[in-house]
Structure formats: structure tokens, C-alpha cells
């Protein structure tokens, strides 16, 4: 099947459907030989096949259909009338066409199917000669194809009634899949059309089966009966496979949706006076049909938006040095258990400053909030309700669905949407959609005696801390809990607090589910982790949707209901913009960081002395054991991640005496390029935003200046000088001090 290209494939599917219709028409025609409608319909069908076969250079197919068409034309125009003989030859012609199509399907070429007999017979009738006795050669071949002849055919004993059962083709793709297994079936046989309701019912039943399986597996685990265990494992496997199979039946290529878009784009382009070419990549990407249905409107809206607002007029494009014709690209692909659909245009792009101005004007964000946001975050504001960038509402977009509705719709099906844009280069909207809605893998956790499910999609990892470690590792920054996850600060959210319930964990253990939502990471503190299982998502009633913390409910193995946490909503609810641990937090480009307000890490030294280190210099926070500190010559070093780090003890650097007892060394890892240094302090006190200038009048050895943090004077560490004291070769580049200073800020 690989060697047949798509056009031929489509031609085959279409022709098979047409032929089935043709058979019915021909038989009906015999009953009402005068029916112009039937003759016209038959003529059109044959004419279509003839046209396409000529185009695809299937000569024999063309010759058969050509004579058939001639005969039909005469019948249609009343120059000849139907007789059993003409019906016979016409049916014979249909059979010949079928044979040819079968040959084409198998080999990609017409093969050596002989059609001359049929052509001769038709020609004979056309010439007014008596037909040859009916001896059909092709009949046998055809017989195998057809299940049963539900309509009787009176004459033509040798011709099997080629009346199709209501069997037709769904999409060409599944067919191709079957063919790849080497087991060749005809296009018509290998796919059937099934009522969508039936599939939905099956899916629901499989959902119930999965639930019951979960119950059985759990109970079998409790009983410890070996045989039962074995059967339950078998049940487990079968249910999983069945679930996968049924889910596949509901998958449809995204092309089913996309195929309508070229027309939309063409009409829209003509309407707006824009030249648009639409390219589509990844048409074959498959998606659950309910999801396909759900993304239809948002996707159409994005495409309309792209043409209407995204692309510029031809004149503007030419003036900007771009080709007059704009390109709209649709791309779909699978990524990490999700389907990603992108709608990109190469238009003018979205100016984040304009978006910001608009957001302030509309009162959606304050100027201060905007100042805290990165340009990417600002762009996402176009999805906020009440925001519309179009200066004028045109009759194309700006009607009905706004971008906020697009976002709501996509999030409603557990997806996400983000926008990227480069001014002058274009805009990309990226939708991430789960493969299916009905059954999702999830982690079940316990909080305050209740169980909750967290979809695995949002889960990055689990961290469990015993009481001792938790006491050290979970720190409090100005009222907000953080955990140092491999040295990076992770904001913590206590589920019990969010839900307003009383945690029943009193032994000091801390269990953290590290979650990701909207590109931000945070740790959700829960009481216990129970298990991972596939859960069937059940919708919640309308009262519960308003709460916004739950995306649905599910029934667990023991029959009890558990709520599914909506991680996205949770993130939005509990994390304010500046507490977010951005994914790019260890971005070493400190220039970008310096442009925003300066963040300082405040560390405590001996004698109550506090020193601030610009956070942009800090890559990680670590704890080392004192014994890990080794000596090279008179310098202290530690081994860290396969490298050797020089240790700067700020206490001795400043001539202070450490108040810290115990064997642990709290260090701040600072990295430039591929070199790092460990700055040892007594404790990490706080992280503060400091947008004032340094009060640099009072300076001292190793101090860059001083600043006010919560009304206390804190010295700002001259990182460079401190490092040089430990490792004079740290900065290999012999650039100016000032430039380097800039770098460390």
C-alpha cells in the first residue's frame, strides 16, 4: 500500500463507494427503465471514474468506462432503451471496473486484467448488434468480495448481485495500517462504518471495566490468593489492551478537522484582501474524536484570527520586505502523551508592549504587575477575558468567540494554550491537548483523610522527607515555604491549607508532589501518596465547576469517589506572579535579570551580620558535610557533581566568627561559564526584591555597598572580590572590572 500514493488511495475509496451506489442504481434502473434520474446518476458516476482514471493514466480503466459512458449517454438521451442485455453489459462493465480497481489496489497498476471482452460487448450493443451469449469471465473474481446479495437480481445469472451491504470506508488511514501487517484486504472490507453512539457506549463500558478491574486487583492484593492474583493480573492485562483498542477506534486523524480549513482560509483571505497560503504538517496525527470535536471551534477561531489579525495586507508585507503572500502553518504532532497543535502565521507579530498598555488600560493588570512580568507572560494576557487587541471589530473575527473563550475551551478539555510572537516575524499559538479525555493515568494522594487524584501529566516527581530532613530542608522565606530541590528553590503549597482542611499528618514528615502547570513548577505538600492508577474522569455537577479547584471526580478501587485536582487552577489560585519558580530560573543570562528588579539572597554570617548576594549570581543552594571539605594546598575545596569547587568561607573572608554549630556547611553555588565556586555562609535568611540603588557611601573590604532590606542595613557582597580571594584564576577573562561587575549583578 505504501507504493500507492494518496491520490490513488482516495480515488479507490471514492470509486468503491460509487460502485456500490452504481450497483443499486443499475438494479433499480431495470425496474424503472425510463428513469432519467437514475440514468443521470449512473452516467455521472462512470464519468467521474473515467475522468480520474484518465488523469491517473489507468488506460484500461479509462477505455472500459469510456465505452460504458457512451452507452449510458445514449440511454440517458433516450436514443436507446434499457433491455436485459444492456443491463448485463453495464453490470459486466461495473465488474470489470471493480477488477481493475482491485488490481490497482494490490499492485498499484492495472495489471493484466483483460477488459477487451467487455469493451467488445458494449461496443457491439452500441453498434446495434446482438449481444454475445452471456459468459462472464470476471464474475468469479468479484464473487469473493461481497458478503451477501441482499437484493435479488433477476437476469444475468453469471453476474453475482454486486449490491453492497452497508459497508463502506471510514478513513483511508486505518486501512493503510491494516495493509502494513501484510494481510491484504480490500479497502471496502477492512473498514466499516460504526455508529458513534455505539463507540461512546463501548468507551463508557470499558471505563466501567477499568474501574472494576481496579477494584478486583486491589482486593486480590489483599487476599493473597495466588490463583486469584494470577487471574486478576490477566484481567488487568486484558482490560488494558481492550481499553487501548477501544480508545484507538475513537481516534481520528486531525485532517478530518483541518480539511475544512483551506476553504475557510481562502474565503477569509478574499474577504480581508489578503493573500494566504495554508500549509498543514502532520495531518495524520490522531486524536480522540470528542477532543477533535472540542478543538474544532477554538482552532477555527485561531485560524481566522491568524488571517484576519495576524497576517498583514499584501502591500504592508511587500513594504516590510516579505513576500506578498502570507503563510499560515498548521502543525500537529505527538509530544509526551499529548497532541500539540500549532497555528503559526508569518505576519506582523504581537507587540508585547501594546498588549501591556492595553491590559493596563482595560484595568486587567496594574502597571506594577506588568513591570514584574516577562514579555512572554505579557503576551499570554491576550487570553484574559475582556481583552481584545483588534482595534476595530471586523465581521470576520471579533464575533462571538474571543481568545479567552478559546483558552477556556481548551482548558476545559485539560489542554493548555500559549502564544509566542516575534514582532515583524509572526505569531504562533500552541495548543497542547491530551490524547483522550476519558481515561487518564493519575496519582492518588491523601490529604486530611480524603483522597484526591492528580493527573500524571502535571506531575514531575515526588519528594518524601522524614521529620529530621523536613525540619532542615523546608525553609520559610518571609512566610512562604520553600524546599531546596537539588539546590533550586521550589515554592511549596500545602494542599490542606488550600482546601481549608486539617491535615492529619502530625509526625513532621513532608511529602511533596512536584507539579508543573503553565510552565511553572511548585511543590504540593500532601499527607500521603497512595498509588498510581488509571482513572476514569467523571464530570462534576455545575455547582462544583464554580469552585475551580477540581477538574472532575473519579471512582476509586473501593467504590468511593475521589476528586481530581485541577493543577492549572490550583497553580493560578495559590501562586502569585512573583512567587513562581520560573522554569528558566537558573538562566545564567544575568543581564536580563539585571534589567528587572534586583533580587537579593540574604545570608546570615557570624555575629548577626547579614550579607546580600545578588540572586542572579546564584545558581544553586547546597548543604555539604564539613568532612566533605578537602584541601588543595592552603585552599579549601569540595567535590561537587564531578568537579572541584573552591570554597569561600564568607565568615573568614569578613573576619567574622561563625555561630553555626554542627557539621553542615550551607553553601551558595555561584557559576560563571563552566566554573563554579561554593560560598559558605551560616544560614540562608531570605530572598528579597530590591529595586532601590545601592547606598554605596559606606563601604568596607569586600563590600560592594549596602542596602536597606526591611529597614535593616545589609551589606551587598562583592562577589568578584570574594571569589578572587579563594580562586585568583576564577575569572580567566582579563576584562575590565566594571564589565565584570555588570556580569555579576
Amino acid at each position: 500500500m505504501d507504493d500507492i500514493d494518496e491520490i490513488v488511495q482516495e480515488f479507490l475509496v471514492e470509486s468503491h463507494e460509487n460502485l456500490d451506489q452504481l450497483d443499486r442504481d443499475l438494479v433499480a434502473l431495470e425496474r424503472e427503465p425510463e428513469s432519467r434520474d437514475l440514468l443521470g446518476s449512473i452516467f455521472r458516476t462512470i464519468h467521474t471514474i473515467k475522468g480520474t482514471s484518465g488523469f491517473l493514466a489507468f488506460g484500461r480503466l479509462e477505455s472500459v468506462t469510456h465505452v460504458g459512458e457512451n452507452l449510458l449517454a445514449r440511454l440517458r438521451d433516450g436514443k436507446m432503451s434499457m433491455s436485459p442485455q444492456t443491463t448485463d453489459v453495464l453490470l459486466a462493465m461495473v465488474d470489470a471496473v471493480r477488477d481493475l480497481l482491485a488490481a490497482i489496489e494490490q499492485t498499484g497498476a492495472e495489471g493484466d486484467t483483460d477488459v477487451s471482452g467487455v469493451v467488445a460487448r458494449i461496443t457491439a450493443i452500441l453498434d446495434g448488434k446482438a449481444p454475445e451469449p452471456v459468459t462472464e469471465v470476471e464474475a468469479g473474481v468479484v464473487a469473493g468480495l461481497l458478503p451477501e446479495p441482499p437484493v435479488e437480481v433477476a437476469p444475468a445469472p453469471a453476474t453475482p448481485a454486486p449490491v453492497a451491504a452497508p459497508v463502506a470506508q471510514a478513513a483511508p488511514e486505518p486501512v493503510a495500517e491494516h495493509e502494513e501487517h501484510g494481510h491484504r484486504r480490500t479497502v471496502a472490507e477492512s473498514s466499516i462504518r460504526v455508529d458513534v453512539d455505539l463507540l461512546d457506549t463501548l468507551m463508557r463500558l470499558v471505563g466501567e471495566l477499568v474501574l472494576t478491574r481496579n477494584q478486583v486487583v486491589r482486593q486480590a492484593g489483599d487476599l493473597q490468593d495466588v490463583d486469584l492474583m494470577r487471574s486478576s493480573q490477566r484481567l488487568n492485562l486484558i482490560a488494558s489492551e481492550l481499553q487501548e483498542g477501544v480508545m484507538k477506534t475513537r481516534m481520528q486523524p486531525i485532517d478530518n478537522l483541518w480539511s475544512k480549513l483551506p476553504r475557510v482560509v481562502r474565503d477569509l483571505g478574499a474577504n480581508c484582501g489578503k493573500q494566504v497560503s495554508l500549509t498543514m504538517v502532520g495531518k495524520e496525527t490522531e486524536l480522540d474524536r470528542t477532543l477533535l470535536e472540542a478543538v474544532k471551534d477554538p482552532l477555527t477561531h485561531l485560524v481566522r484570527n491568524g488571517v484576519d489579525h495576524g497576517l498583514e495586507s499584501p502591500e504592508e508585507r511587500v513594504a516590510a520586505g516579505k513576500p506578498a503572500e502570507g503563510v499560515l502553518t498548521l502543525r500537529a504532532y505527538h509530544q509526551g502523551g499529548q497532541v500539540v497543535v500549532e497555528v503559526s502565521d508569518d505576519g506582523a507579530g504581537i507587540d508585547s508592549e501594546k498588549v501591556a498598555a492595553k491590559a493596563v488600560e482595560r484595568g486587567l493588570r496594574t502597571q506594577a504587575q506588568i513591570a514584574q512580568m516577562s514579555p512572554t507572560d505579557i503576551l499570554q494576557l491576550i487570553f484574559v477575558a475582556g481583552f481584545s487587541t483588534a482595534a476595530a471589530v471586523t465581521n470576520v473575527s471579533g464575533r462571538g468567540v474571543g481568545m479567552d473563550v478559546v483558552k477556556t475551551n481548551i482548558e476545559g478539555i485539560g489542554g493548555t494554550i500559549e502564544v509566542e510572537s516575534v514582532v515583524g516575524r509572526g505569531t504562533t499559538c500552541r495548543l497542547r491537548i491530551p490524547l483522550t479525555l476519558a481515561i487518564v493515568p493519575a496519582l492518588t494522594v491523601e490529604c486530611a483523610g480524603d483522597r484526591y487524584a492528580i493527573p500524571q501529566v502535571s506531575l514531575l516527581e515526588l519528594v518524601s522527607l522524614d521529620a529530621d530532613r523536613a525540619a532542615n530542608a523546608v525553609e520559610d522565606i518571609n512566610g512562604a515555604s520553600v524546599y531546596r530541590l537539588r539546590g533550586t528553590l521550589l515554592p511549596l503549597v500545602r494542599l490542606a491549607e488550600v482546601l481549608g482542611v486539617e491535615s492529619d499528618r502530625s509526625d513532621g514528615h513532608v511529602v511533596i508532589a512536584v507539579l508543573q502547570a503553565e510552565g511553572k513548577r511548585f511543590g504540593l505538600v500532601i499527607d500521603r501518596v497512595l498509588s498510581t492508577e488509571e482513572i476514569v474522569v467523571k464530570p462534576l455537577g455545575s455547582q462544583m465547576k464554580a469552585i475551580g479547584t477540581y477538574s472532575g471526580a473519579t471512582i476509586l478501587g473501593d467504590g468511593r469517589v475521589a476528586l481530581i485536582l485541577d493543577v492549572q487552577a490550583l497553580a493560578r489560585r495559590v501562586l502569585n506572579a512573583d512567587a513562581l519558580d520560573q522554569d528558566d530560573s537558573d538562566d545564567h543570562d544575568s543581564r536580563a535579570a539585571a534589567a528587572e528588579s534586583l533580587r537579593l539572597l540574604v545570608a546570615g554570617l557570624g555575629g548577626g551580620r547579614k550579607v546580600a548576594i545578588p540572586l542572579s549570581s546564584v545558581t544553586r543552594l547546597e548543604n555539604f558535610d564539613q568532612s566533605a571539605v578537602e584541601r588543595i594546598g592552603n585552599r579549601e575545596v569540595v567535590q561537587y557533581r564531578g568537579g572541584i569547587l573552591p570554597v569561600v568561607r564568607l565568615n573568614s573572608y569578613y573576619g567574622a566568627i561563625s555561630d553555626r554549630e554542627g557539621d553542615e556547611l550551607v553553601v551558595v553555588i555561584y557559576t560563571v561559564g563552566d566554573r563554579s565556586v561554593a560560598i559558605a555562609v551560616d544560614e540562608i535568611v531570605d530572598i528579597v526584591d530590591e529595586d532601590t540603588e545601592f547606598h554605596a557611601e559606606v563601604t568596607d573590604h569586600g563590600v560592594l555597598g549596602s542596602t536597606l532590606v526591611r529597614d535593616r542595613i545589609v551589606e551587598v557582597l562583592d562577589v568578584r572580590a570574594a571569589i578572587l580571594s579563594a580562586d585568583p584564576t576564577f575569572y580567566t577573562a582579563s576584562d575590565e572590572y566594571g564589565a565584570e561587575l555588570q556580569e555579576t549583578m
Binding site: S542, T549, L563
Partner: protein
Amino acid sequence: MSTRLVTFTLDGRLFGVEVNAVQEVLRGQPQTRIPLAPESVSGLINLRGQVLSAVELRARLGLPDRDADQEPMLVVVRVAGETIALLVDSIGAVMDVDDDQFELPPDTLSGPSREFLHGAYKLDSQLLLALDVDRAVAA
């Protein structure tokens, strides 16, 4: 014209909902509480694989809480395409009531009980309060 109502009691009062709206009546089921939910939504119930919200009618109608030892009964109703379980004290008979027994709630009645009632049917022994289910379960 007569109407057929499924009756139930709440805090000693007799209420009724139209029989067509009622899917079934069952005994108390284990509930999963929903933190942050409105007070009147007391939890979620697994009804043969379907997840239903349970609405505590006492809370909804501003009546005092049920005694802790009293097990609630469930009246499962279909409202606007959604299936919801109403928590009530006990289930009464299915009654046919005449429209001429009906009267709008008295003007002195105010608060949630007026809002959620169609009115009252004057039975011989007591009043049967007709619950407006649509409103009573609306968020």
C-alpha cells in the same frame, strides 16, 4: 388537574417534588466531602458508577442541621440534564394533590424557604410544601 408528588420530610415538615423529576430514592450512601464547596453541597456519591453531587436540603432551606445519628435518605432527581441527590430526613408516600389545594407561599414567608418553594398544598392534616427543585439545586 392533579399533580403527583414524591413526599419527604425535613425537620418535621412535609415537602414534595414532582414525581417526574425523581429518578429513584435510596438510603444513605458513603459520601466524599468536597472542600471549598458551598455548604449546601455535602459531598459526592457513587451511584452505580455515576458521580452525583449530594445537596443537603436542610442547609439549602436554612433549617437546623440533622442530628448526627440520623441517617439521611437520598432523593435522586434529574434537573436540567444533571442528576443530583437531595439529602432528606425520611421518605413519605407518593401523593396525588389537586391544583385547587394549592396556594402560593404566604407573604410572611421569606428567606431561602420562600425562594425555593413553588407554594403549599393544603392537605387535611398538614401543609405539603412544593419544592422548586430547579432553584433549590442551582448553584
